[in-house]
Amino acid sequence: MKKSLYSILFLLTMFAFAGHAQCGDDLLKQALKEMGSSQYIKDFTIELVKEKKDLKTGYIKFSIFLNSNTQYKFNVANGPANTDKVIMQLKDKEGTRVLASNLYNGKTYDEFSYVCRKAGVYNLLFSFKGGQEGCAKAVLSLVKQMP
């Protein structure tokens, strides 16, 4: 009995350590590498875990300001333990209208480019399909500015 308890504690320790390592700086480095030649602006940490009472995870939201006549790139690196890829959604200021998403025609892309034609505040939301748990790092970068 005692032995099992130690084993569980040991596994728990290893699991916590692995979870932390999987979603740390290495994942950010991967996202930055996949950003390519774009100009880095900001990065986002996504860690969605279920609380005891929850059946599903929700979403995490960030506010951003985008300029007009500018092409941005939103790319994401998923934690290796994720069951599914993280879903990114760019919504309007009020959060009512989805303007862009990496989920398109049933396929989840690791990035999308967004040509912004109206300066303003936007909301960037991250979630997992079916409310699963997971982690990811996302990067917002500048591709080009149109005259």
Binding site: Y6, A16, S68, Y109, R117, G120, P147
Partner: protein, 304 residues
């Protein structure tokens, strides 16, 4: 031996669980770094909660984008329009340090965008000094930044690491409920970005830059909310009053929105989405001159 393992396992489990749940925002902080006993200490209750403030501050436009747009106009780099690094000796209050940390961050973005690595180090020294003055120096790994700055092959990394350091610092300040400091840094950076743009507009009359400056009208309202939130402090109140003059200069700028055709396409396996809304900006030369004049006055107030 087994008992030892038991304690060790429990300690490790506790430590790792704590770090796993703690997130990245608490890294690098210790209790003495939170002490901030001068003009930026929060005494009165805020009208907006720290959470709302945190959300609002994130909406300030990045000065790096402005620097990139300036470079795209083809105009030459000009060091004389930047705030001089030796000016830091004049910034003796946390209020001034925070504002000018923002100013130097925008200058650094401009310098990096033009790959002027010969002057980067002196700006990094100023940034480091001001950051330490407001107890957030731990976010700047000066030796790494200096090493990157002295190698022209590493300029992209330098840009990335310096922006990332600012982002981490900003995130830390907001998590530590020091949004007042954070708000001053973003205000300083935003004003400096506009100031540099104004200088380039005076020189080139570039249409893209004029439009970019005009569409910053929305930011004024955000900054007004932020600064008014701390207007119980005299220095914030003064900054708010000066910002109000800039807001007045922006009043005539007209921004309309037209609904166009949204486009989603796959290009070489990558998803590209074009926004359906298109904004149109109407601003007269006189209005831009008035805006630039107010920006110059506000910037002088900040850097003097």
């Amino acid at each position: 031996m087994f008992k030892k393992f038991n304690y060790l396992t429990l300690a490790l489990a506790g430590a790792f669980l704590l770090t796993a749940c703690g997130g990245s925002s608490n890294k690098g902080g210790s209790s003495d770094e939170l002490t901030f006993n001068d003009s930026l200490a929060n005494a009165a209750p805020l009208e907006l909660s720290e959470e709302v403030m945190s959300d609002v501050i994130q909406n300030i436009s990045s000065p790096v984008e402005m620097a990139s747009l300036i470079k795209s106009t083809g105009v030459d780099f000009s060091q004389k329009i930047l705030n001089k690094p030796e000016q830091i000796d004049n910034y003796n209050t946390s209020f001034k340090r925070a504002l000018n940390l923002g100013v130097y961050s925008a200058d650094l973005g401009y310098i990096n965008t033009f790959d002027k690595n010969t002057i980067v180090v002196s700006y990094l020294v100023s940034i480091k000094s001001l950051a330490e003055g407001i107890k957030v120096g731990q976010f700047f790994d000066f030796n790494s930044l200096k090493r990157l700055a002295t190698n022209s092959n590493n300029l992209d990394s330098l840009m990335q690491i310096s922006i990332s350091s600012f982002n981490k610092m900003d995130s830390y300040l907001r998590n530590q409920k020091r949004s007042n400091v954070s708000s001053l840094i973003v205000t300083g950076a935003w004003i400096e970005g506009l100031y540099i743009s104004g200088k380039v507009i005076e020189q080139t009359n570039n249409k893209s830059l004029i439009n970019r400056m005009a569409e910053q009208k929305e930011i004024i309202n955000i900054l007004e909310i932020i600064l008014n939130n701390y207007s119980n402090q005299p220095n914030f109140a003064e900054l708010s009053e000066r910002l109000a003059k800039l807001k007045t200069a922006y009043q005539g700028v007209k921004i309309t929105t037209e609904i166009g055709e949204p486009k989603t396409m796959e290009v070489d396996g990558k998803l590209v989405i074009v926004q359906d809304e298109i904004s149109h900006i109407e601003v007269s030369p006189e209005q831009i001159t008035a805006i630039i004049s107010e920006i110059n006055a506000l910037r002088e107030f900040i850097v003097s």
